[in-house]
């Protein structure tokens, strides 16, 4: 088990990268604490898999260093790094039995057969494949094959880190939940450093203590699920986390008032003061559940037109138009929905300001 440090790391798939856009992974400095479970969340093509492959040594970074504890492993081959990695699509050795598949990583490292047999049995129980141990891996379903891949990842106890690259994509929903729970319990039991790549926020939130959000080759925020929800550092985090995502409205600042078209929205004084100093295009952001919706004119209320109401069972989602832009609000199921017009209020303490996509932060 190890602490993993990325020092000034960057990667480009081009031989001679120039502009920032040439980089699949922009400059990163980051430390993964020993024994923590992280989720790496981001949309497709944001550099998540690139980052994993650099950690496991399948890819050499264009610049920077990787350290396991304090040892520089940037140029060490994959085998020496002692990393377990599970990929998105199942990889099994077709001609081997399930048992030999699970034993393969141990046998390659010369562990004695008694130990191998014992570990294989433990892992088989964990992934629920004890009955199939002597079957060939060839004819199995995608589900079962991916369970074998997971099992091969978990069979070594002494790995420096366990990396999962969207491992549950091909698994049935009910099995997904079960396997995720098992991964979590494995983490509690052995305390491996785990990095779990996914583009599913629910998966990320349920698996990890800390969620890292990646966007266009950058880690834009690291935090607990709650931190990501309450204080998104970047418009991408606001948009990606939460369902539906955060509302964003381009605005200009006059004093402590944000102007969206002809509408004025009062902001927190301190945020507004920082916003006036910030560079770049300003955007107002608010979570749908924090937007107050009233059926009649209220003090500070902004009139909006209701375009659609979606009843999601435990809550309702309202689609509204404000100054020609779409805004979503989330209401509890028992709250009455106004007919055609509504008045919305932006509580200043819940209303965020973003400059060039980044959160305008209060001091402290």
């Amino acid at each position: 088990m190890a602490k993993i440090t990325l020092d000034n790391l960057a990667h480009s798939y081009l031989p001679n990268p120039g502009a920032e856009d040439d980089y699949a992974l922009k400059q990163l400095d980051h430390v993964w604490a020993d024994g923590e479970a992280y989720a790496l969340l981001g949309s497709s093509g944001c550099g998540k898999s690139t980052l994993l492959n650099i950690i496991s040594g399948l890819l050499q970074p264009s610049q920077g260093r990787i350290l396991f504890n304090d040892e520089d492993v940037t140029h060490a081959p994959t085998t020496e790094r002692n990393i377990a990695q599970v990929f998105q699509f199942p990889v099994v050795y077709d001609t081997m039995t399930v048992r030999d598949n699970l034993a393969f990583p141990l046998r390659n490292r010369g562990r004695d057969e008694a130990y191998v047999a014992q570990r294989v049995q433990e892992i088989a129980r964990m992934i629920g494949m004890e009955a199939e141990l002597d079957r060939k891996a060839r004819g199995l379903t995608a589900d079962a094959k991916q369970k074998i891949s997971l099992g091969r990842g978990m069979v070594r106890k002494d790995v420096n880190a366990l990396l999962f690259d969207e491992p549950l994509t091909v698994i049935d929903p009910h099995m997904k939940w079960e396997l995720r729970t098992q991964l979590k319990s494995l983490h509690h039991e052995f305390g491996h450093t785990m990095i779990y790549v996914t583009h599913d926020q629910v998966e990320a939130m349920t698996f990890a203590d800390k969620v890292m959000v990646m966007f266009e080759g950058e880690i834009v925020q690291v935090g607990t699920p709650e931190e990501l929800f309450e204080n998104p550092n970047h418009t991408f985090v606001g948009y990606f986390i939460g369902s539906p995502g955060m509302n964003f409205l381009p605005c200009t600042l006059v004093g402590n008032v944000a102007r969206v078209g002809g509408t004025s929205i009062i902001l927190d004084d301190e945020v507004a003061a920082l916003g006036r100093k910030a560079k770049g295009a300003l955007e107002l952001g608010i979570r749908p559940m924090y937007l107050e919706v009233h059926g009649r004119a209220v003090n500070g209320g902004i009139p909006v037109r209701i375009k659609a109401v979606e009843d999601q069972g435990t809550f309702k989602i309202l689609t509204l138009t404000l100054e020609g832009q779409v805004v979503r609000a989330r209401l509890p199921e028992d709250k009455a929905v106004p007919d055609d017009m509504a008045w919305v209020r932006f509580p200043p303490e819940r209303t965020k300001l973003f400059a060039d996509g980044r959160l305008v932060k209060r001091a402290g």
């Binding site: 994959t78 085998t79 990695q85 050795y93 079957r135």
Partner: protein, 290 residues
């Protein structure tokens, strides 16, 4: 109301029936026809039953040719399949080298077969041939027209040179089709180069190698043009393969009845062994799948 049957589909597959009839069934039935009759001329034919088959099957020279044929095909497969895989493994995976290798490999496959024979006659001539003269200059007597062993060596060399590229191309295509994730997983699992070959590359090449083995078996078992040009079946009968012997009977002696019986036996042997190879390759390493 009576049930109305739609038989239009028959018209749609009729062209295929006609083509197959003319390309396979009718010629084959002609051969069957010859194989059970003694034909003296138009209208003069006698039904002889299995006589020709009995004659052919007890022919000592045919037995010799058959064993020669098995030896030849066996050697060809033993050399060409591993060699073809080895070359495919060594080929570059990307870049300009790929096209260079592919074109170079494909060259022998583009040359007409009788020209191949001619090339190797000249190449191995003891007096002026590049290879033949070189070997003889080392003091080793080498002449494929005189020594049966030399004739065999030349034939096998020629066959390997001519057809290994086909195995290589098939194996290379098979290797390129393996997803990168398998190699990555093998690295993560700490697999050696041998283990990677044994448990990933070889099993993933099963399909293309089945095709390679079948094609190489059938082609080498039916080989005619190259040995006919190179050795004419000699020295003596040492390189008289089945097809060469068959042509001697059919064209040389004009014994159409025995030749037809021979052809059918030949055909069945190829069919039987192709089926055996196919079954063996499909089942290798299969085990219990439940």
């Amino acid at each position: 109301m009576e049930k109305w049957e739609n038989n239009k589909a028959w018209f749609l597959i009729l062209p295929v029936f006609i083509i197959v009839a003319f390309s396979a069934i009718i010629p084959l039935m002609t051969v069957v026809n010859y194989s059970v009759q003694d034909i003296f001329g138009p209208g003069q034919r006698v039904f002889v039953g299995t006589e020709w088959f009995e004659e052919v099957l007890s022919d000592k020279r045919l037995h010799d040719a058959l064993w020669r044929q098995f030896l030849f095909s066996g050697l060809v497969l033993l050399i060409e399949i591993p060699l073809g895989i080895l070359i495919a493994l060594m080929m570059p995976k990307r870049g300009w080298g790929v096209s260079v290798c592919l074109v170079t490999l494909a060259l022998p496959l583009l040359i007409p077969w009788n020209v191949i024979g001619t090339i190797w006659i000249i190449f191995t001539r003891p007096d002026i041939g590049l290879l033949g003269a070189a070997i003889n200059s080392f003091g080793v007597a080498f002449d494929h027209t005189a020594a049966p062993m030399d004739a065999w060596i030349t034939l096998i060399l020629m066959e390997v040179w001519h057809w290994t590229p086909l195995v290589t191309l098939l194996a290379y295509a098979g290797l390129r089709a393996i997803p990168e994730a398998y190699y990555q997983a093998a690295k993560i699992d700490g697999a050696s180069a041998w283990a990677t070959f044994r448990y990933i590359q070889l099993p993933k090449m099963r399909g293309v190698l089945t095709i390679a083995v079948l094609l190489r078996f059938m082609d080498s078992f039916l080989i005619y043009a190259e040995p006919f040009v190179l050795t004419g079946g000699g020295p003596g009968n040492s390189t008289t393969f089945l097809s060469i012997y068959l042509v001697k009977i059919a064209v040389g002696q004009f014994d159409l009845g025995p030749a037809a019986a021979f052809s059918l036996v030949y055909f069945l042997v190829v069919l039987l062994f192709s089926w055996l190879f196919y079954q063996a390759l499909q089942n290798v390493g299969k085990g219990r799948e439940g």
